[in-house]
């Protein structure tokens, strides 16, 4: 496992990475009978997802799950544990099973009574092994020199967009000092 560079500021996920991750999730869903699966980073951002239906609430769910997992990591520290590797939330109709992938990502599986929890756990474990290999490469590539030459253009255009969208509608005093 490649040690994580905690100063890493960008994570770059290519089309090939996404295709491999998505294929892994597709297999997980097909074999387990789950309805939705996704991979999140520690900030709660969705790297890839696979589902049998459109679920617009997943953006918020990702944020909640990542924060919840980060919260359980703090709990583990208080208990002198390395961490809690899995999380299970059971509702009346659906369950959410979350497993860590190398401490930096989360595999999330949502399923109903048609899928068996034991099978979901076993298959999720298998998926995390596959995902671990893929995400190692993502991390390694991200640590190298910037692979996206268009970013400079994106940066400039984005700052223009920010000025346009986040317009002031009330006055404020700005400090000219900067870092």
């Amino acid at each position: 496992m490649i040690p994580f560079d905690r100063a890493l500021s960008n994570l770059v996920v290519t089309e090939e990475d996404t295709a491999q991750i998505t294929a892994c999730l597709q297999r997980l869903i097909a074999d387990s009978g789950a309805s939705y699966s996704m991979v999140l980073d520690r900030a709660g951002q969705i790297l890839a997802w696979e589902s049998d239906s459109i679920r617009p609430e997943m953006q918020h769910l990702g944020a909640l799950l990542a924060a919840t997992y980060a919260s359980t990591r703090e709990m583990a520290r208080l208990l002198n544990e390395d961490g809690f590797r899995t999380l299970l939330q059971e509702g009346l109709r659906e369950k959410i099973f979350t497993e860590t992938v190398q401490d930096d990502w989360l595999l999330v599986v949502i399923f109903d009574h048609q899928a068996h929890l034991g099978l979901v756990k076993v298959l999720a474990k298998r998926a995390t092994t596959v995902l671990s290999g893929i995400l190692d490469l993502v991390r390694e590539r991200s640590m190298q020199a910037n692979q996206t030459p268009r970013l400079a253009q994106v940066r400039k255009a984005t700052t223009d967009t920010i000025d346009l969208l986040f317009k002031d509608d009330s006055s404020g005093t700005k400090d000219p000092s900067s870092k």
Binding site: R6, S9, N10, A43, Q45, L47, S71, T148
Partner: protein
């Protein structure tokens, strides 16, 4: 850590509003949510106590639209400011790309501001990042109140690192979007 998803043509950044309790972090997000164009924002999610104090976090997803083929998304979070929730703040700070420190400009809150800022620096450093290089914007909120300290005094105590800083009255929106523009640009320039 900003996420650049080449396949999905998306760039994601996480911005956290940090500061002592009742400094105006949630008010900032509420104002942004109330003013920003509808097609740019998602639902504002707030996990709070019965007395409307932030318990876990507030979450506001923003979609800036397509820029050179990439969809730019920012996720804004706040942390609970009360002393009791120190560990929760560590959890919410996970993976953050930029921080807005919302200080309460009132005289009797200076010690709380300092304690919170000190804690932020420790938490950022514990994530393996250099605090001095980290995208940070200071906001001095409640500058309209009669016992608010003068800005030069706040600068002397709170902004020795000379981060960009803005005076604000978040309940009216003064300084809110200036602050958001500044931190968004700092995060984008780190890409």
């Amino acid at each position: 850590m900003a996420l650049i998803n080449v396949a999905a043509r998306e760039i994601h950044g996480k911005i956290v509003y940090y500061g002592p309790g009742l400094s105006g972090k949630t008010t900032n997000l509420q104002y942004i949510h109330s003013r920003i164009p509808a097609h740019t924002k998602g639902e504002l999610l707030s996990i709070e106590t019965e007395t409307e104090r932030t318990l876990f976090f507030d979450f506001l997803p923003l979609d800036l639209g397509k820029v050179h083929g990439f969809t730019i998304r920012f996720h804004l979070y706040t942390v609970p400011g009360q002393v009791l929730y120190e560990r929760t703040r560590v959890a919410v700070l996970n993976g953050t790309d930029g921080v807005v420190f919302v200080a309460d400009a009132q005289r009797d809150r200076l010690a709380d501001n300092l304690q919170s800022l000190r804690e932020l620096a420790q938490n950022i450093t514990a994530q393996g990042k250099r605090f001095l290089d980290f995208p940070l914007v200071m906001q001095y909120n409640k500058t309209d109140l009669p016992d608010a300290l003068p800005t030069p005094v706040l600068d002397r105590y709170l902004n020795t690192i000379k981060a960009p800083r803005f005076e604000a009255v978040a309940v009216t929106g003064k300084g809110v979007f200036e602050t958001l523009r500044a931190i968004s640009k700092l995060v984008v320039n780190k890409l």
